[in-house]
Subunit: 214 residues, 2 copies
Amino acid sequence: MFRTRVHNLLVSADGYAAGDYVTLEKPIGDAGALFRNFDGRVIHGVHGTRDPVTADRAFFSMWGQGVGAEIMGRRKYGPQSGEWPDDGWQGWWGDEPPFLTPVFILTHHPRESMEFANGTSFHFVDAPAAEALRLAREAAGGLDVRIGGGPSTVNEFLEADLVDFLHIVIVPVVLGSGVRLWDRLAGLENRFTVESVSTSSGLTHQLWNRNRTV
Amino acid sequence: MFRTRVHNLLVSADGYAAGDYVTLEKPIGDAGALFRNFDGRVIHGVHGTRDPVTADRAFFSMWGQGVGAEIMGRRKYGPQSGEWPDDGWQGWWGDEPPFLTPVFILTHHPRESMEFANGTSFHFVDAPAAEALRLAREAAGGLDVRIGGGPSTVNEFLEADLVDFLHIVIVPVVLGSGVRLWDRLAGLENRFTVESVSTSSGLTHQLWNRNRTV
């Protein structure tokens, strides 16, 4: 039983999950308020850190469990658009990208794959969601595939009904602008069973499990 | 930053965390009501199962994250007491114990270690809590140590102030008898910061993080 999973997708009260105006200096664009209580370490597990094991961390720590490949949109990988400049860009994460698996990056401008010593590799594919998922499944070695975002990519996979599990974190901030998660998804709740849990930090974790058709 | 952690300890409304009268036929003794909504799979992660990813599962799935060794009491390992009978007993779990790490079993009757192909090994030690923890830390390869129970063992480590993180699951049942968790621990809450989260299943997850002394 393999799943296509989304984890730790922070969403504002008004439905934005990333900021506009992403630049090299502003990897999350104008969405600072969404991330202000986080330091990028939300994907870590519950060990190897001095941070207490909070309920939020319990939810966040599902991120890597049993995941064998990720699919991400180009805007998560870098701020460029169009043809790739010849600038040696390897993504935001330096020599140790935290993914530790093959990562498939959706782009209309494929380029050569990159491999890192820690098990991460980047592969650039110009393909619709279903085809990218087929490639990721093949690479995942029998484990699950994570749709890593950004929100436009998650939206595309939800619209194609290719997401089995969706973990959304509602952050009580109002962004006013940014990249919308829910466009063209009216009635999505009918395809899922949803559980919501709020924690003492003010966050609400929503766990969307797709209803089985068999 | 290494921790000594307790996970998934089910506790009844009246403070019992295991049943009396454990026998070969009744591994959990008379505590069936505590476990009636579980099938032993609470230690699994969120993958490799058809079960939906519920909030309960998110909490349960912390069990194995970054754990390099376990310490358990003899009553978790088997129903025998006193000298070991020559019956080939390898624990309740057959040829594939789910621990995947060294496990230190506290007993006044040490015996030869056992090793399993999946990485689990059983080591039998007659030692107080602090000494057992020292052995487990050595074996954990820089990862955390889990105190695996039963409740008497967790109680002993709490009394000795050797637990950094304690995940308790309050199950809304009244057992009336069994093995008590909280004896001799009055005021324990002063040593910890506690967060409680209830889920739609009726369970309450309590996360006890030990206050730092530095």
